[in-house]
Amino acid sequence: MKLIKSIKSHNEKAWCLSQHQTLPLLATASTDKTSIIYKLSAASDFPVIAKLEDSHKRSVRAVQFKPPLGGESEPVSDILDLPALACGSFDSTISIWGIEEPDELRELDGEDEQDIQKIHKTLLTSPKSEWSLMALIEGHESEIKSVAWNYQGNLLASCSRDKTIWIWETDPETLEEFDCIAVLNDHSQDIKHVTWHPTQNLLASSSYDDTVRLYKQDEDDDEWACVGILNGHDGTVWCSSFEHSSSPGSSEEKVRLVSASDDKTVRIWSSTSKEEGTTNSEKLPSSLKSQPKEMVWEEETVLPIAHDYPVYSVSWSKTSGRIASVGSDGNIVVYKEDGMKDWIIEDKMSYAHGVFEVNCVIWCLLEDGEEALATAGDDGSVNLWRL
């Protein structure tokens, strides 16, 4: 593993990172109450595109870019998708940021289709596009720890120290109104992290109560309900990440999730999403059929132990199927699947942020298409790594 670039982003802790799904944009979150957006371009030395400030009274704890309109599988072609970002803060609010349609876009008629796409990308990642605050969502009682968009961009989940997860519904094009459609209070303690499945409306949350919970919408009455609990970690679960269905190791029959915990382990869980009770459904009383379908999850494996202290963040690569984890000990560990269910450590980097803790790791694609790792640490830096 080699350091491509270390960006001294913030003077205080950097907590979280997010990359836009189709654009080379990277966003940060920091105790200094700001979020910074960078262009993931090695050629132009990772320039700052925007600094989002003056809207939060306390730390920005979490950031995530909204997925493109229609999701990545069915992108919308008749409207240009404009990037947008959600920031969750310890001040218990969520800010939504976006850019206006660049004026230059309107003068592109008649150009070659491919050229247009290229120009679009350049314009949307240009520092000339001004990022502005579009909405401020209030509702949580205390510190927000994580925010996550579903794959279609019409649902935003947020979790907080108030032990609840809220799901907000919005129009993914205009982001005008955010209506609360669910408040989930299954966890008994602070909720550290939420994440959505990359291609279906399945939500996972990690908590100080040592569990991961999964939620789905009931098909009959649209209510969101907990459909699974992952028990196994011996400490706070800090983060989880779903395997992408287009990732090399994935199979159609099962959903997999990786989780990182205070107990120093990283675990993989899987669920074969076969419908329960389809064979003897006639024998069941009708009352049982209307119960939300529970998912059956099992612990597939514990990844080779490589952290000496709590593991704070984990990320599953869509491109290469590898998993990366970081934590309190400053290590970055990269695991790869070697045959069925057998995971080995492919690479490891110690002191990734000097003596500081590493709070977040994500897989990202640089402007030239190269897969890289991005990490954020207590030193306020964002480091980019080549494998």
Binding site: I79, M134, E141, K163, W166, D179, C180, N185, A225, S287
Partner: protein, 537 residues
């Protein structure tokens, strides 16, 4: 809503804060009021002592106590209220009071009022009709526990519905902007006071059936028996734990009638627990009885009559139910009253045949809007909003607009694009309920409203929550209803109003005392140290 007060978790609740931040004040027992320097010590029994540094005199310290009214006036938490409630409003408290009454010389008179939703819940739990359950409850209270009177909460509810409708029509006529919000759900009131004080000007200050019933019941019984109100102990059976909080609210017009209108609030769950813990004394179902073979009572009205105070206006008004939602039908009754009001204001124009009531659904079954149309034009609207997440969306819409967010450029772009494409914007044209734009909103903190209150009996293991609720709603709907505004000439309304003004005159209490509540804005705690006490990471 305060699911924390209940053994079961509701799936939709407002989570309380963690720490009690109420500064405890203890009246010092110092004789001359002079403050010596003191030292706190613990004696050999582990009791705290206060030792004066001046003369070495030791005095025992009383444990600090927080009362329910302290909790209500504080924004810290509802968790400490739990213990207070258990002490003041528990089934043990009722059995203790009954026991005390047997042994003491000055006897208290026990009276009970039973809400419609609780009757439906208990009937469902025991698999009997509401009439059979009423009979069993009356038997339990009167024959076994020695209660003097038992009534339903209908009279109180009818008055609450009438006052509420008048209040909204009055506000609408005066041109008060924004919707009037109901305040009969104490969970919602507490939440609004503590976290969204800006909605308080919108709140209707009409009292709930529980409190009005209490005021009437105690006054009438006191007069009939020639005793003081203080000697009457009123038990109210309610579907929700938060009703305890409501009954503990100090009266604003306390000078007129001291002593609370309701002494003990029990939920159906707690009533069942009370019976189960005292099977040697009490039983809801007579021993050795096959409950399925209990005969349907021939005429309940005789039974109702026997146990109601003699001066209770009409037996119908003791136990009957009302049209509209199973929370009491507040939204529906406002529109019925509005139609009547319009017809009375100009009978030549407002022909009853030309009115129409339509219901518009919201994003889920717990949000809907009813519109009163006259010649197809909307003349009034009322919405029903149940459950925390729907309340959230409503209060956020009512919040005074923030200036930090600039106008949304993407929305403009979308409009421009759609205008260009020359097709209608389907999503904004669809007619969806918007409670924030209605005249009135009936708000209940529990999903599905009061019929699904936190104190109602949970379904048995093999029955789904949905089916169970449906069966309880069926039972609620089986209770005979009385028409108020939609009765011919609204006779029932004028009768009730006539009766209540007589009551007010005879008892020399104000209409305010009988029918009006009040709200507090509770200041958010600002002491960071106190907040951190409750912090769990």
């Amino acid at each position: 809503m305060s699911a924390i007060l209940s053994a079961d978790d509701l799936n939709d609740f407002i989570s309380p804060g963690v720490a009690c931040i109420k500064p405890v004040q203890n009246v010092s027992g110092s004789k001359d009021g002079q403050q010596d320097e003191v030292e706190i010590q613990i004696d050999q029994d582990g009791e705290p002592l206060e030792v004066s540094k001046a003369d070495g005199e030791a005095s025992k310290l009383n444990p600090a106590q927080i009362s329910l009214s302290d909790c209500l006036a504080c924004s810290g938490c509802i968790t400490s209220a739990e213990e207070v409630l258990v002490a003041q409003h528990s089934h043990n408290e009722l059995t203790r009071a009954l026991e005390e009454n047997r042994t003491q010389q000055t006897k208290k008179v026990f009276v009970a009022s039973v809400s419609h939703q609780s009757r439906a819940s208990l009937a469902g739990a025991y698999g009997v009709s509401v009439a059979v359950m009423d009979k069993l409850l009356i038997d339990l209270f009167v024959a076994q526990m020695g209660f003097t009177h038992v009534v339903g909460t209908s009279l109180g509810r009818s008055l609450s519905l009438i006052y509420e409708a008048q209040n909204i029509i009055d506000r609408k006529t005066r041109g008060v902007s924004g919707p009037t919000l109901s305040s009969v759900c104490p969970g919602w009131v507490l939440y609004a006071e503590k976290t969204h004080p800006y909605v308080i000007p919108h709140m209707s200050d009409v009292k709930s059936p529980q409190q009005i019933t209490g005021c009437l019941l105690k006054s009438l019984v006191a007069r009939e028996l020639g005793i003081s109100r203080d000697n009457i102990y009123h038990v109210s059976i309610m579907p929700c734990f938060d009703k305890k909080l409501e009954s503990a609210r100090p009266e604003k017009y306390d000078g007129e009638l001291p002593s609370p209108d309701v002494d003990c609030v029990l939920t159906p769950k707690e009533l069942v627990t009370l019976i189960e813990e005292n099977t040697n004394i009490y039983s809801l179902i007579p021993p050795h009885t096959d409950i399925t073979k209990l005969p349907q009572p021939a005429s309940m009205s005789n039974i109702y009559k026997q146990v109601a105070p003699k001066t209770w206006p009409s037996i119908e008004l003791a136990w009957a139910s009302n049209e509209g939602s199973s929370s009491g039908g507040y939204a529906y009754h406002y529109l019925a009253a509005l139609q009547l009001h319009l017809m009375a204001s100009d009978p030549s124009v407002y022909n009853p045949q030309e009115f129409e009531l339509v219901t518009v659904g919201g994003r889920n079954s717990d949000v809907y809007e009813m519109r009163l149309l006259f010649r197809k034009e909307k003349v009034g609207s009322a919405a029903v909003v149940n459950g925390f997440k729907n309340i959230q969306n409503l209060v956020r819409r009512l919040k005074p607009s923030k200036s930090t967010v600039s106008s949304n450029p993407l929305a403009n772009r979308r409009r421009a694009r759609l205008a260009k494409a020359n097709k209608s914007d389907d999503s904004s044209d669809t007619d969806q309920a918007d409670p924030s734009k209605c005249d009135y909103v009936e708000i209940m903190a529990c999903p599905n409203g009061c019929i699904n209150g936190g104190g109602q009996i949970s379904p048995p293991g093999d029955v789904s929550a949905k089916e169970w609720l449906a069966s309880i709603i069926d039972r609620y709907r089986s209770i005979e209803t009385i028409s108020l505004f939609d009765s011919p000439d609204a006779r029932a309304v004028s009768d009730i109003i006539h009766w209540s003004s007589q009551f007010i005159d005879e008892f020399n209490i104000s209409e305010m005392r009988l029918s009006k509540t009040y709200f507090n804005t509770v200041e958010k705690p600002t002491d960071q140290a106190a907040l951190l006490l409750g912090t769990k990471w």
